[in-house]
Homo-oligomer: 158 residues x 2
């Protein structure tokens, strides 16, 4: 699982930098692994393992999802990658350096709004005060209704 890993999240800014980190851990930079890393750098939002695998086929004919999962897991174990579960579908993967601190998902329109740690402060503060929990809102979504869908819902139920 790419879940929790030791050490802090790594902030690689380029694929080359990420590859250096991979090598520095004694891991190898193979064609398949490089392409997974590049796919993650190319994505501007979390993606599924299947999506990454689909993109690979063009440049690496014999690749398979199993290896993609294995690579995501490996990259996760060294803190380069994280994954989230934003709904009932498959898990979504992204670089630890670019993934949001949390995602708000709208049950109405499906909007997926990333939130920074700074923006979340009032929320995590409220949770800390009320429950004594140090909340990590990064793995599961903050689900609900966005402003406009909440408005519609309010009208509809009147």
């Amino acid at each position: 699982m790419t879940d929790t890993h030791p050490g802090p999240a790594l902030v690689a800014q380029t694929a080359a930098e990420a590859e250096g980190i991979v090598r520095s851990r004694g891991l190898r930079v193979t064609a398949a692994r490089r392409l997974v890393i590049e796919a993650l750098f190319a994505a501007d939002a979390p993606v599924t393992a299947e999506e990454i695998a689909a993109g690979l086929d063009a440049r690496l004919p014999r690749s398979d999802v199993g290896s993609v999962y294995r690579n995501l897991e490996t990259l996760g174990s060294i803190g380069l990658v994280r994954h989230v579960h934003l709904g009932h579908g498959p898990g979504l993967y992204a670089l630890a350096a670019t993934i949001a601190a949390a995602y708000l998902t709208c049950e109405g329109c499906g909007e997926r709004r990333p939130a920074s740690m700074a923006e979340l402060e009032p929320v995590t503060d409220a949770i800390r005060e009320r429950f004594g929990y140090e909340a990590h809102l990064s793995h599961f979504p903050i689900s609900g209704l966005c402003a406009s869908c909440a408005r519609e819902g309010g009208e509809a139920s009147r």
Copy 2:
């Protein structure tokens, strides 16, 4: 899916009451269905479909998980049951009347702490103010570290 359903959650307080609601919807009260309902009333926390099925075997020899899933889905469609995903494992089901408004799960000790809507108010208020979202924290957990695990973690990383 037992996800979202029309109408408000139903607040059946007894199995007999729940059965009445089932009948009032034109649905039938069969042995298998009754046992699922009773299992949910007997549980004091959300349970998996497998757990319910396992409990059934004693009183209904030929039951199977498939039917349990179908019943949970049916009962969910009329607002009697809801389910949550509190981690990477299977979904957990409970009566809409007794399920918590949210669950805080500790990544350290695994504690699963239910929270009422009233307790959550400062949290949902903060989310509304900051993001304009009407948060429904009931389907996914508020994951993090409970007070004591946060303390330990803090010491360890010093």
